[in-house]
Symmetry: C2
Subunit: 340 residues, 2 copies
DNA sequence: CTGTTAGCGCTTTCAG
DNA sequence: CTGAAAGCGCTAACAG
């Protein structure tokens, strides 16, 4: 196998006798005499010519590629977002560069620099950091950024997310309506994640409005991880005064909590009621079917792409927009109706 | 915010009075007078200079970037591989370009072309196609490719995978040792996936060696999907002569089968025993804990990276190597010991 | 509509 | 060790 050097625009110039400019014009959809068009097309076919996007990018400073940075590619939540984002971008003939931040702020910052190096036209970020510092390189270079699912504490970026606080409020209300009063929460907290904090506030809102005080032991705030969810649920189940219901505020924590329940030997909803977040087929995998907050992930992904491409198109500076969607609460059998 | 044009090597030339060549040499780790070194470093810092990898790539024809193409980024199996691959590459200072084939051969072929355009130095592919045609562009250009988890029917590529046939054999043997005789299989078949077919053969081997004939109704071969797993399990559970055990040969099919079991109201292992594939925390999520074939995903990923980087390093053509690892079978409570 | 001429930002001979 | 000059493959004026 010989290492064939790909054909260049010059080879097709040689073959057709036309000038570089004409060929380039054709390649970019410009008007060319039908006769020349035919010859160029023939040469392209014959030489298997394909545009060298690198060279093109060097001069146009555009790559028709957007970067997508997710906090962890191991998370099914992100995998699902990536899937929808990829579809939406493909439809617009944009390429996609996926980066995995491994839940690490350092790697996240590195990813942004990497994408800047690759000269992406814009990026969609599901961030791990809560501060916007890591996005500075993009901001400096005027590369549009859209945040997805998670906003930043000091945000001045476009963002697509759900109304976390009221969604959490509604979810907890559902528990209250079923006469639960001892309701615990497992949550990614302020220090770890802004989105988690908003959901936590929604929980507190609902409890306060119901006139309930929440014992310290019922507030489990920590990492956004399966491990934290599992550990917290274990502890809740061992409490003297066990809660009658638990609200889990993201997918990983929901997974961990289910695992803890399973190992405990207790049953849901007989021994404890559960309300989770971000379905992702989980509700069908475990018995009983779980009550779940489900975010409109497809719509969110598509909206993020739409906003990003808008901004890539128009060069004018625009005010950051925040799109807030609402989530639905899927029914299940994991919440018991208490009498009283 | 002004759209700052990034500093170029020329700006630092202006600042230091040195020539482009000297600066370039410094940037690439060459020897430069200590005095000049200091001045260059100062200028770089002052101007926030960063190499334009696009321009560099144009001349070197190297990007220090590898592409990874997975059949679906929505699959946790792939997410996990991506995570390990990313880590291994980062360690070697390589960038990663992730592409999602959406289980579609057309998109897969498009992804390969996209990566060729991006001039990746090599690629790791978990393919959806079973024929190697889609890899032709890479082959033609001499870009190294390593297949992961799935090989191709007409393969002439490096590949890292497990010994699917004997692994399946061992798994089914475990069922046989527990005195199961009515063992069904749910499998991605030949037409859809070569790996699945190998596992199917291992199943048949074990059954044959045990002197058992397998009724047609116990052989469920079809798509590699949750839906197919679910549908197949539903059908198996409804059979007049219900199997006592089911072997599920990949992650998605395992998920689907568990879902079908849950909705059926039957219990595992009392009503039916189950043996799945590719754990990925599933075994801890469902009750009872599942018996599972678990592939050494981390080792596989790292080996694939190692082989790829080797080939990127040496320019000489090498014979394709096939690394075959072995999987372990994790114990659980989903297989009943039958008396007889 | 077509061709000529400059570059994009960098590396790489090849002299000095 | 350093500098001048040539080009990687393409696009973008500007004339014709």
């Amino acid at each position: 196998m010989t290492q064939i050097m790909p054909a260049t625009i010059r080879d097709i110039k040689a073959k057709t006798g036309l000038s570089l400019a004409t060929i380039s014009k054709y390649l970019n959809g410009g008007n060319v005499l039908p006769e020349n068009k035919v010859r160029i097309e023939a040469a392209i076919k014959e030489l298997h010519y394909e545009v060298n996007e690198i060279a093109r990018g060097l001069v146009t400073n555009k790559t028709r590629t957007v970067g997508v940075v997710v906090y962890s590619v191991e998370s099914l939540f992100n995998g699902t977002l990536l899937h929808y984002i990829g579809n939406a971008l493909r439809k617009e003939k944009y390429g996609i560069l996926i980066c995995d931040s491994c839940n690490d702020e350092g790697i996240e910052a590195e990813n942004i620099r990497f994408l800047m190096n690759k000269k992406v036209d814009g990026m969609i970020v599901v961030p791990v950091s809560r501060q916007s510092g890591f996005l500075q390189p993009a901001k400096d270079a005027g590369v549009p950024v859209v945040l997805l699912d998670r906003s930043l504490r000091d945000a001045e970026f476009d963002c697509v997310k759900i109304n976390n606080r009221t969604t959490a409020f509604r979810a907890v209300s559902l528990l209250l309506e079923n006469n639960h009063k001892k309701i615990a929460v497992i949550c990614a907290d302020d220090r770890n994640e802004w989105t988690g904090y908003e959901r936590y506030l929604g929980y507190l809102d609902a409890m306060e409005q119901a006139g309930l005080t929440v014992p310290e032991a019922y507030r489990r705030t920590g990492a956004h991880s399966i491990e934290f969810g599992q550990k917290s649920m274990r502890e809740l189940l061992r409490l003297e005064e066990r809660p009658t219901a638990v609200f889990m505020t993201n997918y990983e924590i929901t997974l961990g909590a289910v695992m803890a329940l399973n190992e405990s030997g207790m049953r849901c909803p007989e021994d404890i009621s559960m309300l989770g977040f971000d379905d992702l087929i989980l509700s069908h995998l475990v018995k009983p079917q779980m009550c779940m907050v489900v975010q409109p992930m497809k719509e969110m992904s598509e909206k993020a792409v739409e906003i990003l491409l808008d901004h890539i198109g128009s060069k004018k500076e625009e005010m950051p927009v925040e799109i807030v969607m609402s989530a639905r609460i899927a029914q299940g059998d994991s919440v018991a109706r208490l009498t009283s």
